[in-house]
Amino acid sequence: MKLLFLSDVHLGALTEAENSTLEEEIIQIINFCESNNYTIHILGDLLTIGWNSQIIFRHLEKNY
């Protein structure tokens, strides 16, 4: 059995363009999992309503 664990996608938390890109990426991952027989388990925070401040995200990325 093959499993994929995915969390903290936070779709909705970024700009509209970034959210669109993120959504397409996850759809590609689903396509991959479907083709390669993976079961996908979501471990929370797939969607996020709010905290879409670009400044916060840029700060987090810069300081990671």
Partner: protein, 207 residues
């Protein structure tokens, strides 16, 4: 967040794709996090097996403890939720909130509230790492897998392994179980493959 008779449009295309995927691949879990726990039937209608706390899985000869990582109601596991999260998950609070506000207004209110209360929890990895080690020491799980603090990592102890999948939106990270073991991976969208998670370029391919 869902309201009676209102499903937010957020992620509609993605959830529709999950619904298609679940027509042929059943058993996918949706363990709610602190940002998406107000669910009613929509995730179930998309084919997910929805869980609000934690789930134990046995796969092959391995046992998994899966949860988001914000906290657990069951004091047995000694991972207390912050007070704010306990309030927001309280059925009485949810009922009152959904009585006062319509779906659209309620989501706007929660959006504003979320922006005000956004914390920088990604810097605090110690809480989950210490908890995971203690839980592995006192139980018979082979793997504990969470997200929440946004820092991808795999920590291996004599009693089991703790994996944090990290934040996909930041690191393109996830975890894969294959051939009896769990490893961190990174999605390479250009080549549509997962690669081992590393800060260095890696040409290995996982399928």
């Amino acid at each position: 967040m869902e309201f009676p008779n209102y499903i937010p449009p957020l992620g509609k295309k993605l959830l529709n794709r999950f619904a298609e995927y679940h027509k042929t691949k059943t058993g996918g879990l949706f363990i709610t996090g602190n940002h998406d726990y107000w669910t009613m039937d929509h995730f179930r209608n998309c084919g997910f097996d929805v869980e609000y706390e934690y789930r134990l899985l046995n796969v092959d000869s391995n046992s998994f403890f899966l949860t988001h990582g914000d906290g657990l109601s069951d004091s047995l596991f000694n991972l207390e939720r912050p007070l704010l999260h306990r309030i927001l998950r309280n059925p009485g609070f949810v009922k009152i909130f959904q009585t006062i506000f319509s779906g659209i207004t309620g989501n706007h209110v929660m959006k504003s509230f979320s922006e005000l209360t956004r914390d920088n929890r990604k810097l605090n990895t110690e809480r989950l790492s210490k908890w995971a080690r203690s839980t592995l020491d006192n139980n018979s799980f082979d793997y504990i897998i969470t997200g929440h603090d946004h820092v991808p990592r795999k920590e291996t102890f004599s009693t089991g392994s703790y994996i944090n999948t990290g934040a996909y939106y930041l690191h393109k990270s996830a975890a894969i179980y294959n051939k009896g073991e769990v490893n961190l991976v990174r999605w390479d969208n250009d080549n549509m493959i997962f690669k081992p998670f590393s800060n260095k370029p890696d040409k290995s391919v996982l399928q």
